[in-house]
């Protein structure tokens, strides 16, 4: 497989993927707000900053080497530097700019630059997901290093395995429409690794740490749901029937995710909460991500509903096992990502998408796809967990000051100690 000059650009497909890329970009601020509303007042800027900074750093790293490591070359385990600094990504095609597609993606009907930009937004948001787990206690400088190293050492390789046609998991037939494995399982298990190295927040779980602004969280939820149309339906890489199906599956799974969470919550604690509605919707969205363009019919209803319910149960695990996954990245993204990636082994349907070479159990394809999905999530979990641990331990050992703020600084909050700012100033100063 060689890199191929893209010639047949369709303006409608291009328009849709451009929009989808913008929508996915918008999700990172959305995530920042979603998380930011959940932390205490003294840490909200710390949270926002960790997320926004991903837009700063990862964008540049992606352009430099990330994209090329993820999509360049034909090695099964890691890309190469063919596209480093975007060389050849733009190229001319009879006077028009088009550019070279990564190996195996020669049938693109959009400029490769658009594909690169679209994938960039995934690279930006994936490590940002981790910030929810580590809220309120990591030094900003340590986050900067973790972020950058993780993007290169974990994200690009895993994306290559699963998304690139030459990746070993892709070639085995594992399916991941929009990042259930690459994004959610990957970030979720990495969050566990970071949390284990970092330790619990002072006072957790005894001291209550209620969300300082649920309206902020709900602004974030709205943006996430909105942006997720780009995330999932954009992964069709064109404005076509697959995109349409993915679009519908996305919103349906978000809805049943919300319902699933709320029903269990109402039964167990007596109230349907706003944060539960938001969390359930996100759980549904996470779970449908790998499936979005591969399933149809009742599948999204079930996938979303199951994810909503199970994630509700899963977020309590941390109290049982004693790890402080502050805003439930593991309970929602890891668990939700696993649910979606594995259920895809049951529901994948070739009549929805011809790219489904092995169908799921319920479509008559037997357990083979399910097995591949197990391998894909298993390999991702092991690799991501181990490498993330190593990065964190190395940073802890080598960074003067370590990766965690001092006790006093934790008490005072990240906003003042890391950024010299307060989130909400009174006119009285």
């Amino acid at each position: 497989m060689d890199i191929v000059l893209v010639k047949n650009i369709d303006t409608g497909d291009t328009a849709w993927v451009l929009v989808a890329a913008a929508l996915v970009m918008f999700m990172t601020p959305g995530l920042a707000l979603f998380y930011g509303g959940m932390v205490r007042t003294k840490n909200v800027l710390g949270m926002l900053m960790q997320n926004f900074f991903s837009l700063g750093l990862i964008t540049v790293l992606w352009v430099a080497v990330g994209y090329s490591l993820a999509f360049g070359g034909t090695n099964g385990f890691i890309g190469n530097f063919d596209f480093a600094w975007l060389q050849d990504v733009a190229g001319t095609n009879g006077g028009k700019i088009a550019g070279f597609a990564p190996p195996g993606l020669g049938t693109l009907t959009i400029p490769p630059m658009v594909f690169m930009a679209y994938q960039m937004m995934f690279a930006v948001i994936t490590p940002a997901l981790i910030t929810g787990a580590i809220a309120d206690r990591m030094r900003f400088s340590a986050w900067v290093w973790l972020l950058g190293l993780w993007a290169i050492l974990v994200y690009s390789p895993v994306a290559h395995w699963v998304f690139a046609p030459s990746g070993w998991l892709f070639k085995r037939g594992a399916l991941d429409f929009a990042g259930g494995t690459v994004v959610h399982v990957n970030a979720g298990i990495a969050a566990l690794a970071v949390v284990l190295v970092l330790g619990k927040r002072k006072g957790w779980p005894k001291h209550p740490m209620p969300p300082h602004s649920l309206p902020l969280t709900l602004i974030g939820t709205g943006i996430l749901w909105f942006g997720w149309f780009g995330f999932n339906a954009g992964s069709a890489l064109g404005a076509n029937g697959v995109a349409a199906q993915a679009f519908v599956n996305t919103t349906v799974a978000a809805a049943t995710g919300m319902l699933g969470w709320l029903i269990l919550e109402k039964l167990r604690s007596g109230h349907a909460t706003t944060l539960g509605a938001a969390s359930g919707a996100v759980a549904g969205l996470v779970a449908i991500t790998p499936c979005a363009g591969f399933v149809g019919g009742m599948a999204p209803i079930l996938i979303g509903g199951i994810a909503g319910g199970i994630c509700y149960l899963a977020v309590s695990m941390k109290f049982r096992f004693g790890y402080d996954d502050s805003l439930d990245v593991i309970g929602v993204h890891l668990v939700g990502g696993l649910i979606g990636s594995l259920l895809l082994g049951l529901f994948a349907d070739a009549s929805i998408n011809a790219a489904v070479t092995k169908e799921g159990v319920f479509s008559g394809g037997g357990w083979s796809l399910f097995g591949e999905q197990m391998i894909a999530v298993g390999a991702t979990m092991v690799y991501s967990f181990v490498v993330t641990c190593l990065i964190c331990l190395a940073l802890k050992a080598f960074m003067p000051g370590g990766i965690r703020v001092t006790e006093d600084d934790e008490e005072t909050g990240l906003d003042l100690t890391q950024h010299s700012e307060v989130a909400y100033a009174t006119d009285l100063v």
């Binding site: 969300p211 919550e265 604690s269 944060l275 969390s279």
Partner: protein, 112 residues
């Protein structure tokens, strides 16, 4: 000169203010506080984690009054603040040695 301080339920503030105004009270100072007492707080639930919040929002009203008016004003205030349900709050009176109006420097009763 005395300072009458009342901790009341927030939604009685309007009644209290009106009642005191009727008695000719010209001014008072109000602030938001959190009360802990016999009235139970509430439970909040966030992602399955239940928090018992012991504090209940209350309003503190402070009125500087002439010695002679203390009883009259206190009684009216009690009446206006009362709902009869637990958590209605407290009123207490403390001695004040001097009061001055910032604008004019007047002191004592003239400062009110």
């Amino acid at each position: 000169m005395k300072l009458v301080t009342a901790i009341i339920k927030p939604f009685r503030l309007d009644e209290v203010k009106d009642a005191l105004r009727e008695l000719g009270v010209n001014g008072l100072t109000v602030s938001e506080v959190q009360g802990y007492g016999r009235q139970r707080g509430h439970t909040e639930v966030y992602r399955g984690a239940e928090y018992e919040i012991d504090f209940v929002p209350k309003v503190r009203v402070e009125v500087l009054v002439d010695d002679a008016d203390v009883t009259r004003i206190t009684e009216k205030l009690l009446e206006a603040a009362r709902t009869g349900k637990i958590g209605d709050g407290k009123v207490w009176v403390t001695p004040v040695e001097s009061v001055i109006r910032v604008r004019t420097g007047e002191s004592g009763s003239d400062a009110l």
